[in-house]
Symmetry: C2
Subunit: 162 residues, 2 copies
DNA sequence: AGACTTGGTTTTATATTGCAACCAAATTGT
DNA sequence: ACAATTTGGTTGCAATATAAAACCAAGTCT
């Protein structure tokens, strides 16, 4: 454990853009797959390692980084073991929309010949979820070309009346 | 230009998981920021380079990879220049939900002291967008704890009736 | 024509990742 | 109780990826 744990090649943390700032925390190579596994119930070091086939030192490093970012937290193991386990914090659980959006895109554009390995459902009803998609203020899914981007603080351009 | 353009340390492309397969295409360090810039209107090499402060060789490599993945395409420049420009394909444009989800999470959990740099709006109405969030079949935003994950082909567990 | 910009490539240095070996504490089997 | 195995790491080394800087050819501007 050195003083300077992990020194990234180039960090996005000083950028103002929220996308960059998010990627700075979860954008390294294995991070989002670790979070995926955590969402699906993985808690222990061994679970992550077996599921991912990741090198142990890399896993250690990623887990520490995620704990430091308060996306995961270490806690006493629920099964009574003396080892600790890793659990998603509320901050980490809030990454679900990102995970679902990645999954949905992969299903559509990069599907494995054997189909997807996981599916998602509504625990309350057992039904499928709606698509993760940009929606208008009224909740209707919108055409991607209608998504406008503007620098913060700038007045919103008038809608084209054509 | 070698035959084996870029050989990654470890590729996710043989995994069945759609999340992994997506990350294999857009999960490297700069990819999603390049895509963000493309969504905000960047077309030319210089735009990406200036906006990102990325090393030129790395940018070349990432752009080629994204073109190869059919997320970007090279096309004659719209401004009449003899140079080519990079444009999002439909496959690339479909990454918008991921970009928006990343941005939204960053706004909430990793905000820059000066606030976000970009905002999103509905070009049709000028209004803000709804949150990118898992929704039930009826379109209502749901509690993250109600998002269920199951191996594909498995019967959906019965909703708890407690 | 000459100067500058664009879109790269090459080289070299540094950072990250994977792999294998090793280890101590916890757990399991007998 | 004791030995064997598993867990959760750490360390060192080799392979790979990224960054920075120099260089270059073709395109564009004056």
């Amino acid at each position: 454990m050195s003083i300077c744990e992990t020194m990234k090649t180039k960090s996005f943390s000083d950028m103002q853009c929220s996308i960059a700032r998010t990627l700075d925390l979860v954008g390294s190579w294995w991070s989002l797959l670790i979070i995926r596994d955590a969402m699906m119930g993985a808690r222990r070091f061994k679970h992550f390692q077996r599921s991912l086939g990741i090198a142990k030192n890399t896993l250690t490093s990623r887990l520490n980084q995620l704990v430091e970012s308060e996306i995961l937290e270490r806690a006493a193991a629920a099964d009574g073991s003396a080892y600790e386990e890793y659990r998603l914090t509320p901050k980490g659980r809030d990454l679900a929309p990102i995970i679902l959006a990645l999954s949905q895109w992969g299903d559509k554009w990069a599907a494995h010949p054997d189909g997807p390995s996981f599916e998602y459902f509504d625990r309350q009803t057992g039904e499928d979820l709606s698509a993760i998609w940009p929606r208008r203020a009224d909740g209707e899914a919108m055409d991607l070309r209608d998504v406008g981007y503007k620098p913060a603080g700038t007045p919103t351009p008038q809608p084209a009346d054509s």
